[in-house]
């Protein structure tokens, strides 16, 4: 049995760890709340831009942007959003598992894959797997700006426009609620046309300034960027929620271990006292 002092040191060190994990839990909880607010704040833009594109498709049915044309798929691109830091349970692992599953499915169909990563964890993962990494960005913090991701998105969009990739997927974690985060794989390009063909009641078109192509190009690019940005913000909320849960269970586990060790410690102390008494008694008896 370990000596009393050894156990006491162990208890102390676990208590210190417990303090850290419970602090991290609280930090994650407050960051999660903020991330949820950001998530809500980004929604109006996404819905507005979707509206405008809907109007455009309605007003201008004969014009098709490159992003809307379905091609035969020979190569697919993935934009994978992950966290920068770990200690958030199985969040990233689950996401990567879903991604790899999808990639394997495509690979079996003879489709090659290019990857673009946002966040250190994804970069490390796909670097280790020797994937064809086209672009990466990480270390964007808890409040990323849209301008941070323009570059990576552009790399993929250019590749799509040049015909290097024929499909583009976005992978991120969806924030269902605090307890549940679900990996999402969304096809971004080609943009799936709204199948709900409404009757065209009256034909109208916009006045384009300077011309329809430049306006559309700008609009499409922003649309994709806003989707990626939203995915990123959502992923941050997921990261914080997952970390909060992971740290909560770590704190609970530390508590359990401490209880166990305290029991052992008390037993050891009791045994030492009993032994001492019996030694004294037997010593007295011998005299």
């Amino acid at each position: 049995m370990a000596s009393g002092k050894e156990i006491r040191t162990q208890i102390k060190s676990i208590k210190n760890t417990q303090k850290i994990t419970s602090a991290m839990e609280m930090v994650a909880a407050s960051k999660m709340r903020r991330a949820q607010e950001y998530m809500r704040a980004t929604r109006p833009y996404a819905s507005k831009i979707r509206n405008v594109i809907g109007h455009l498709a309605h007003a201008h049915p004969e014009y098709k942007h490159t992003f809307m044309i379905v091609r035969e798929v020979r190569r697919a691109g993935f934009i994978i959003i992950s966290s920068d830091r770990g200690l958030c349970g199985g969040l990233n692992a689950n996401e990567f598992r879903a991604t790899i599953g999808k990639m394997k499915e495509l690979d079996d169909q003879g489709i090659d894959i290019d990857v673009c990563t946002i966040g250190k964890k994804a970069t490390r993962m796909f670097k280790r797997l020797k994937g064809n990494l086209r672009a990466e960005i990480s270390g964007l913090g808890d409040r990323p700006r849209l301008e941070n991701i323009i570059g990576v998105v552009k790399v993929m969009l250019d590749a799509y426009e040049n015909g290097e990739i024929d499909q583009l997927y976005l992978v991120y974690n969806e924030f269902v609620n605090t307890m549940t985060q679900a990996p999402q794989i969304e096809q971004m390009l080609p943009i799936k046309a709204d199948d709900s063909e409404k009757e065209i009641k009256h034909y109208w078109d916009y006045i384009y300034e300077p011309d329809s192509k430049t306006v559309l190009d700008g609009l499409m690019m922003r649309f994709i960027e806003s989707q990626v940005y939203q995915g990123m913000v959502e992923n941050i909320a997921c990261e914080m929620a997952a970390r909060m849960i992971a740290m909560k269970s770590a704190t609970d586990n530390a508590g359990e271990i401490i209880d166990g060790l305290e029991l052992v410690y008390n037993k050891a102390r009791q045994a030492a006292i009993t032994q001492e008494i019996s030694e004294i008694v037997s010593g007295a008896a011998a005299v």
Partner: protein, 139 residues
């Protein structure tokens, strides 16, 4: 009654303004435009500048660093950019992202081995499951 039109100014990061106004001025790419209610449908790109909203003699202004203006007869939407956009600036960002990727995998060689990756991840998941089971057994 004064005619008004509904205006939404949104950026990718947040909602900036939403409400009814009498007149909107925006810095369109071809020159500043003034939009009154029931303006015909129009869509244009914006230059960096001021978007001004007039309501009953009062004026509010917002700075946008570019974006897109969509006009419908009763709704005007300003999709504002949060960053200054220019072709070469975007290009520079793209190049940076590419370089980072190249740096990250100097040793890229064969294609991704999906089966191996799947096995590795499955192992990790199995480990987590086992740990959870052990924990339950202890209880």
């Amino acid at each position: 009654m004064v005619m008004t039109t509904h205006v939404d100014i949104v950026s990718a990061e947040e909602e900036i303004f939403s409400g009814s106004v009498e007149m909107i001025f925006a810095p369109a790419e071809m020159g500043e435009v003034g939009i009154a209610p029931r303006h015909t449908q129009m869509i244009t790109r914006l230059k960096p500048g001021e978007v001004r909203l007039q309501t009953g003699g009062e004026e509010q202004s917002f700075y946008v660093s570019g974006g897109i203006l969509e006009v419908q007869p009763h709704v005007v939407t300003v999709l504002a950019d949060t960053a200054i956009r220019a072709r070469d600036l975007d290009e520079a960002q793209a190049i940076k992202a590419k370089e980072k990727a190249e740096q990250a995998l100097k040793d890229k060689a064969s294609d991704l081995d999906y089966t191996r990756a799947q096995i590795e991840l499955a192992e990790a998941a199995a480990q987590i499951r086992t740990i959870e089971k052990l924990r339950k057994m202890k209880k």
